[in-house]
């Protein structure tokens, strides 16, 4: 296993070992099959990088993670306001109309306040019927002093999120960092893979060398 690091992007293998590899490559017939020494085509390298970027972009957590309970707290407060309750209890209009009107009032009011949850609210719209179901649970958690960002809304349930964000002091927060831990692993995994492949292919004879298949065949 002769290694050389003089010109790592050209070859990681010493000249004598490269010669031995070329002799084997040209001299033996693998069941009548031969292999060429072409480089990884550049479009393939481009596709590899594009694939990684696509993988990250497509699975970005903001496009799929569950809503946390904190983003609906203002909805719950406004739903319980007199103005909205009047609309919700208006017997002159249908249930569906009352819902739409009440939700429009809530959303109009929310526009006037700065909130860190604006984007997530757009990602996870909610209707009044579902809000009615989760509201008591959110209020109960708020009274208990819970951090609502650590709770996920899953259908009619408000449950502790299953994130395990371990802090430096050892405590665990069930809250997802915005970049998501799954990505950190993916980045290291991908970098590790690329390094391993680069080392593997640079240990082979350089791709400028063309094997002569007439020797063994």
């Amino acid at each position: 296993m002769g290694w050389t690091f003089n010109n790592p992007l050209f070859s990681l293998t010493t000249a004598d070992q490269n010669k031995a590899a070329k002799d084997v490559w040209e001299g033996e017939s693998l069941g009548g099959i031969a292999e060429n020494n072409n480089p990884l085509p550049r479009p393939v390298i481009g596709l590899l990088l594009l694939t990684f970027a696509t993988a990250i972009a497509l699975t970005f957590p903001l496009y799929g993670q569950r809503p946390n309970a904190a983003i609906y707290l203002d909805y719950v407060s406004l739903m319980n306001s007199t103005m909205v309750q009047e609309v919700m209890n208006d017997r002159q209009i249908t249930h569906h109309e009352a819902n739409s009107k009440a939700m429009a009032l809530i959303e109009d009011s929310l526009v006037h306040f700065e909130s860190p949850y604006t984007f997530q609210r757009e990602q996870h719209p909610i209707d009044l019927d579902q809000l009615r179901v989760i509201a008591p649970k959110i209020i109960e958690l708020q009274r208990a002093g819970a951090d609502l960002e650590q709770y996920s809304v899953i259908g009619p349930e408000v449950v502790k999120a299953n994130f395990f964000n371990i802090q430096a002091d050892g405590t665990v927060i069930a809250k997802q960092p915005w970049w998501d831990k799954g990505y950190e692993i993916s980045f290291w995994y991908f970098i590790g893979f690329c390094l391993a492949v680069i080392i593997t292919v640079k240990r082979l004879p350089h791709f400028s060398w063309r094997p002569d298949h007439s020797i063994a065949h």
């Binding site: 033996e28 099959i33 060429n36 072409n38 393939v44 694939t51 998501d180």
Partner: protein, 468 residues
């Protein structure tokens, strides 16, 4: 076969094990697709055989799945490995006798396993349906002897290098043993809940991703250069394919459970790795298609290349679907619909089956030293398989999209059943075409063994396919 069970190793002709496995695989393919056609008929016409407990869909589905995976696909793989591995090492199979016993006990075990499934004795886990005694039989009587034969043949090779195909064969068999024994742990350890679900899909994912697709690809790595006479386009791209399968496709099992309460970080990680299946896919497809340079006429003229390259081309939509359908947004729409059934058939009946059929066609001609009895019947088989599969795939994909839309918009279930009825009929027609195509294949191969013209010494069957 029986006369070789107790014969001396040197008295068993080389290639016997491969031929027995190949013939068994075709027979199981007919049984498996026959069961598939029957099941599809039950879905198209639900009142058929109404009231007969043993013929209900819930009993028959697993039998179809396991007859096809363990009977057709795995035995065709075994057949391929038992003649390709020694050929690539310029040696003979480590033990023909072990191979013959392996084939006999494989068939007996499979009959027993399917009989138990049919009678309703199952673990209840999709893809790992067998009860634990059968799991142990499969692992130690059916799979490990096969692995030992392949590994020992590679270790005893008379070449210094190991060709790409044999990396995949040896690697996939190692991963299969690990995946099978660990993946069936829920059965041994009585796991329940999320652990059971995750382990079940870890097994299901890996048995497809680390055995079926890589070995099918390995077969094409052999068939295309061997028959065209072209060198493989790139040894390096072969490395990229092999290692990216190992690295990226052993990790994304959680993408089967995107809506489950698994940790979000695990689902994100699995989803990213799931998209990265496009890395080996791109490497593999470009390597094989570039190897075809200057020999594209064989795609029309040669039956093995026709099957192989069709399989390679089907790997493109397979991996495009596979890469993207498990992302959260798309999975939300198609999870639990016929789309997934279509995708599974694209992998097993599309890509994998076409590659294996080529290997069995080629292997039997080479080992028997006889050319195909009827090229016309082989072409008929090809088109029955391709058209039948295409009808199945397209109809199930459409039906899956309908189910997805209905799921999202909360359309009443009975309306969905009515909307799907035509597609269920097309699915049945497609599956039945595959079934009848396979019967002609078995007939053609039996006639090849009995009455095929001998292939002259030193010639390839492909070279004399059109000579009289």
């Amino acid at each position: 076969m029986l006369k070789y069970l107790f014969a001396k190793e040197d008295d068993i002709p080389q290639g016997s094990a491969a031929i027995f496995f190949a013939v068994s695989s075709i027979a199981w393919f007919i049984i498996g697709t026959g069961l598939g056609s029957f099941n599809a008929a039950k879905l198209a016409f639900p009142d058929m055989f109404h009231g007969l407990y043993a013929l209900q869909f819930g009993h028959m589905r697993q039998v179809h799945v396991h007859a096809v995976i363990f009977g057709w696909i795995a035995m065709a793989f075994a057949a391929s490995m038992m003649y390709i591995t020694p050929a690539l090492g310029n040696t003979k199979l480590w033990s023909e006798k072990l191979g013959v016993w392996n084939c006999l006990l494989y068939n007996i075990g499979l009959c027993l396993a399917l009989a138990l499934l049919w009678s309703g004795i199952t673990s209840g886990r999709e893809y790992s349906d067998h009860i634990w005694p059968i799991d142990l039989y499969i692992a130690f009587i059916m799979v490990i002897p096969w692995c030992v034969n392949v590994w020992m043949t590679i270790l005893n090779r008379r070449t210094q290098g190991i060709y790409t195909t044999n990396w995949f064969f040896a690697g996939s068999m190692l991963m299969l043993v690990i995946v099978f024994l660990i993946g069936n742990m829920p059965e041994f350890l009585h796991l329940t809940g999320l652990n059971e679900a995750y382990m079940t899909w870890w097994f299901a994912h890996n048995v497809l991703g680390l055995l079926i697709t890589p070995v099918a690809a390995a077969i094409t790595y052999y068939i295309v250069p061997k028959i065209t006479g072209n060198p493989l386009y790139s040894h390096r791209v072969g490395h990229l394919h092999f290692w990216s399968i190992v690295v990226f496709y052993s990790t994304p099992a959680a993408h089967h459970l995107m809506s489950s309460p698994l940790p979000e970080w695990l689902k994100s990680f699995a989803s990213v790795e799931g998209v990265l299946i496009l890395v080996p896919a791109v490497a593999y497809v470009c390597n094989l298609l570039l190897t075809m340079q200057g020999r594209w006429a064989m795609f029309v003229e040669n039956i093995e290349i026709k099957f192989t390259i069709t399989g390679v081309l089907l790997a493109i939509p397979l991996n495009m679907q596979g890469g993207f359908q498990q992302t959260r947004a798309i999975n939300w729409y198609i999870h639990g619909t016929g789309w997934i059934v279509a995708h599974a058939h694209l992998a097993l009946l599309g890509f994998s089956t076409f590659a294996e059929a080529a290997a069995v066609y080629y292997g039997m001609q080479v080992l028997l030293r006889r050319k195909l009895w009827s090229a016309s019947l082989a072409n008929f088989h090809f088109w029955m398989l391709l058209i039948g599969f295409s009808l199945y795939w397209v109809s199930m994909t459409i039906s899956g999209l309908i189910q997805g839309a209905a799921k999202i918009y909360e359309v009443p279930y009975v309306d969905v059943v009515i909307a799907e009825h035509p597609y269920m009929i097309v699915r049945w027609l497609g599956g039945t075409m595959v079934f009848f195509g396979n019967i002609t294949w078995l007939y053609n191969m039996i006639m090849t063994a009995r009455a095929g013209d001998p292939v002259p010494v030193g010639r390839q069957p492909a070279e004399v396919a059109y000579t009289r």
